[in-house]
Symmetry: C2
Subunit: 213 residues, 2 copies
């Protein structure tokens, strides 16, 4: 079996180098579930999230453990961009906060005007199953004084990491993992029944969930 | 061919889940060449390195672009741990600085007493060639008040990333890529002829090269 694995890896890599001579910006699959970890050392914030992502209907469900300084919070939210609504969900006491979601939906993708930094292999191409071919991209957004560095897989355009830098907030590093193409449970995108009588929150509740954008 | 790739990926993943029920600390291949990037936001230091690593003879050759605040430096060094000697090499003017290398050689490995945080897939297992199975480990070293978070591939024990945290220096994130098992050019480990009459440097010159350790 080992030789079959070796042959197949060779084929995979051969496909990489013949099929994609120059990497192009790409869109990630529109339906995904997965996990991410995010770290902002300057703000002393770290987060572990499990998310469901539906770019067709423009909605995201997030469950997050957020560490700020020495405190830990569990956060759960449903972002319905088409309706412009964000629900913060508190299962423990069956309550909800409903806020207006003003920013536009930001699909997971390599922006069409991103600059290719290079193609590289995470791990190694010397042994079967020990390497991942990825493309690394950079984009500056002068309006918000932010630089983005993005890494996506060459095959299937799966996000691997996104680092951003602004003068105010410093570096934020987001790593994606355990991504599965498709949605496991579409019910996740429907607000729980107790959200019908949600308390309306007038302040923006975005900041904790912008690691995806 | 696509189906062959799909079958092979299934085999690779099947091997992962049958052959390695519980991941164990592992040693990386003793001979490797590769690249790494390292970022220490608190110290405003970033580095891109190309390294050759020989754990059998305990020697490392490093070529680094180091960014400190707004200045950029090119650094080249040869670390011979067995002899306890570090050469800083300046090709431009054919000179060398020779320093005593006091610290012990630290092989690239998951320490035997590291705690498994979990097994995860960088990218996705949903599409061929889009995922990498890795194990994530943690180790605290109270003597130096440092926590290490390490990610190595399940197959072949290739380093993918090492993050460390100390109160003084904050977070340092090191990412490895383009690793190849083996040494391309053993001559790299022999000091250039002009290093024979190297100026002796009495201060430690280690700090820039400890991303590997």
């Amino acid at each position: 079996m080992q030789s079959l694995v070796a042959i197949s890896l060779t084929l995979i890599l051969a496909a990489a180098f013949t099929g994609a001579q120059k990497p192009h910006p790409c869109k990630s699959p529109p339906l995904m579930v997965g996990r991410l970890s995010a770290l902002n050392p300057k703000g002393h914030v770290a987060a572990y999230e499990r998310f469901s992502y539906d770019a067709l209907e423009r909605r995201i469900r997030v469950r997050a453990l957020v560490f700020v300084d020495n405190s830990t919070m569990y956060e759960e939210a449903l972002l319905l961009f088409r309706e412009g609504v964000l629900y913060e969900i508190f299962h423990q006491n069956q309550t909800c906060k409903r806020s207006e979601l003003k920013e536009p939906f930001q699909p997971i993708e390599v922006p069409h005007d991103a600059q290719l930094l290079g193609q590289l292999i995470l791990g190694s191409s010397s042994a079967p199953g020990s390497g991942l071919l990825v493309n690394s991209w950079e984009k500056s957004v002068p309006e918000i004084k932010t630089k983005f560095f993005m890494t996506f897989t060459e095959f299937a355009c799966i996000p691997v990491s996104i680092a951003s830098h602004t003068e105010n907030t410093g570096w934020t590093m987001t790593s994606f993992y355990d991504l599965v193409i498709g949605i496991e449970d579409p019910d996740e995108f429907i607000p729980p029944p107790f959200c019908e009588k949600a308390e309306v929150n007038h302040k923006s509740a975005k900041s904790l969930f912008n690691f995806l954008g």
